[in-house]
Amino acid sequence: MTALRELDILLFEAGGWLVGVDADTIRNVEMAPSTGSIPHVSMLLGSRLTDDEADTRRNRIFSVVRGDAERQVIVDRIIGTATVAVREFQAVPDALRNFDTPAWIVGLMWRDGRVVFLLDLFAVLD
């Protein structure tokens, strides 16, 4: 079995953070004309919605899947997908893990001088 060398990542902004999730777990990206009761990732991450984020014209809605389960979330701005070499991923530092960092932050990476938080988005929703 060949080790995974690259992974497709969906990159988006949420709460001022740059977030990456495994693109294979994402389905049905579409416009979000109304938010309804669907959670906004910014709020899940503990941020208040900015005016831009509350402006539904920029919002996108998509589904996160795990097995047969599926959940919908809203994000403010999808940057796009990127194929990233796995060697670019960095584990969450142990010193950070020791201080109650959420387990759903599964890794980190740098992109254009910014840190990307690689999330298990389904776990965030749980």
Partner: protein
């Protein structure tokens, strides 16, 4: 057999007596970002393979960290902790009379002394990205030579206000753990005889489990930080101690 450390340490200054700051000019003399004279945790003073870092039987100068069988003097605990820390392995410092070098810092109105063996480098604060859903004393992460490093706000961690205007980040390493602490000021480096490190005040020791001693520098009292405890046990040790 351990070596006796030269009393003229690289930062002790020629003839600088113990307890005197070798460099009173402060921050300009402190290890600068990228300064390759910054104390390297894996320096060539590390004991050779097979050189047992544990104290020899009967050696009451350097009990193992966590050995609470006897009321070990603070200096001995510190020396043992430093000597057994992965970041330092300065075996000879466990010897009585040996000197320990401390990086002296001020964080708001509190002063701390950090054994240099645990200091990887001192850098200028750059962009720090907050981390979602972490305690307030985790300021975030920053890019340290291409890898992610944690910024731990010691002022918040000890229950005081956030240090809002740090001039430096002191990068600490111990037991494969690494974090940077924002400081208001680096005040210098001081070399202290092992036995001149006093036990911490009970109130301080009780409140902050990572404070394992205190030293005097002029009219100031500096709390000695055990970086291994600070980074390894984190809030949990601190919380347990507070709940005792």
């Amino acid at each position: 057999m351990v070596k006796k450390k030269d009393s003229k340490g690289p930062r002790g200054g020629a003839g600088a007596p113990p307890g005197k700051t070798a460099d009173s000019s402060g921050i300009d003399q402190a290890p600068a970002p990228g300064d390759d004279q910054a104390p390297a945790p894996r320096d060539d003073q590390a004991p050779a393979p097979g050189d047992d870092q544990a104290p020899a039987p009967g050696d009451d100068q350097a009990p193992a960290p966590g050995d609470d069988q006897a009321p070990a003097p603070a200096a001995s605990r510190l020396a043992a902790a430093v000597a057994t820390g992965e970041g330092s392995a300065r075996h000879e410092e466990a010897e009585a009379g040996a000197e320990i070098e401390f990086l002296c810092v001020r964080i708001k109105d509190r002063r701390y002394a950090i054994p240099v063996a645990w200091v990887a480098e001192v850098v200028t604060p750059g962009d720090v990205t907050p981390v979602p859903h972490t305690p307030s004393y985790i300021r975030g992460v920053f890019n340290r030579h291409g890898h992610v490093s944690t910024v731990l706000d010691l002022a918040q961690f000890t229950g005081t206000e956030l240090e809002e205007n740090p001039t430096r980040l002191v990068v600490l390493e111990a037991d494969s753990l690494e974090a940077a602490v924002p400081v208001t000021e680096v005040t210098g480096i001081v070399a202290m005889a092992n036995e001149d490190v006093a036990p911490p005040l009970p109130s301080v020791a009780h409140e902050s489990g990572f404070i394992i001693g205190q030293i005097t520098q002029g009219s100031d009292i500096l709390s000695v930080i055990d970086v291994s405890i600070l980074l390894g046990s984190g809030r949990h040790t601190w919380g347990l101690r507070k709940g005792e």
